[in-house]
Symmetry: C2
Subunit: 188 residues, 2 copies
DNA sequence: ATAAGATACGGAGGACCCCGCCACTTGGCA
DNA sequence: TGCCAAGTGGCGGGGTCCTCCGTATCTTAT
């Protein structure tokens, strides 16, 4: 089990870098063939490192997702629980709306997949990271009853998906998030 | 300009029927080739009747969209403006969540397209139909300031997109709609 | 330093899809 | 009935995804 061959590790890194650019340019449906071409490897090598498209998407976004997770940990013991949650949700929204392909990745990794392993899925990781924030805010009565962290992540994913087309997705998504948090049709 | 030839009209209807089934079965990315095959026509005939995929999606869903629009008209002078809006939004959500491919169609038709004509787009039609409901509810103070009918349609589209994977999309979407309307993280 | 073995590579080939072209058929009108 | 435009279908080109398999390359032990 000597970890991995040196060239394999190089190709992996190369593919990741190219994939990030390519996904940013052409969305989550970017051509794997094209990624292989740009990276200067055979198309089989792509699927060797990333069996399905989802695996590639996960890997590409893993880093930034981690950043958001640690952001959540930092905010976990802020004074104002509600403000902390809101800040985190806004950060998440901004990132989801500005990073092409991410929202699709977030929904896709919830899709039923032959292999059961969802533990590495971006959406799951994010939900778990946000859970403490939601819990604390809920204890302060600042969260709608029945709403979970996963729900909020799902809502934000939806907003990001639905605003992908918009001229200024980030601003639009943030605005819609505001409506969603405050209540678009609040009870009189 | 004698409207259309009889066989053309037949093929059009046939394609629409087949496309509906095929999209229900395989989502908005259903193969046009396959649709042609099942309908027993050449693949060129499909694109003759529906230049882009979006045109086909629009045509397939037009009927039900119309139903929702007339529903909006019926509700336009209900006693309780808020209740009327909520009912319409719930109906829209249920339909969007239960009809595979519709949510995608709703987002796609907002995408920039070579030809400018968006006037027939499903999302636009829906937004316009819902506008009176929103206006009346807003006058009653039941809608968040700044929220438009288009915003609500967008939010619902997002919810439908994000819950497509879920085991029970309709129930999940309805629940999330409830959160969105009432406020997921309401101001203390 | 080198040879052996495991590991990773890349290209070929099949299946599918979208798309544009063009010769041909078919329906409607005189 | 015969003409002609409207409508059709199939073919070929270009692209993608995916799998298989012979081969090149890295690693480790000698």
């Amino acid at each position: 089990m000597p970890a991995q061959r040196a060239d394999a590790r190089r190709n992996h890194a190369r593919l990741l870098a190219v994939a990030e650019e390519e996904i940013a340019a052409h969305g989550a449906d970017a051509s794997l063939e094209q990624i292989a071409r740009v990276a200067g490897v055979g198309s089989a090598t792509v699927r060797r490192h990333f069996p399905h498209r989802r695996a590639l998407l996960d890997a590409v976004f893993r880093g930034r997702i981690e950043t958001l997770c640690s952001r959540a940990r930092d905010l976990a013991d802020a004074d104002d629980a509600r403000a902390a949650l809101v800040e985190w949700l806004r950060a998440l929204t901004e990132y989801a709306a500005s990073t092409r392909g991410l929202a699709v990745a977030l929904t896709r990794d919830l899709e039923a997949l032959p292999d059961a392993g969802h533990e590495n899925a971006c959406a799951t990781v994010l939900s778990e990271a946000g859970e403490p924030l939601v819990r604390r805010a809920a204890e302060a009565g600042a969260v709608a009853p029945g709403a979970t962290a996963a729900d909020l992540v799902t809502l934000i994913t939806g907003i990001a998906l639905a605003t992908e087309h918009h001229p200024d997705p980030v601003a639009e998504a943030d605005r819609l998030l505001g409506l969603t948090m405050a209540g678009a049709v609040p009870r009189g």
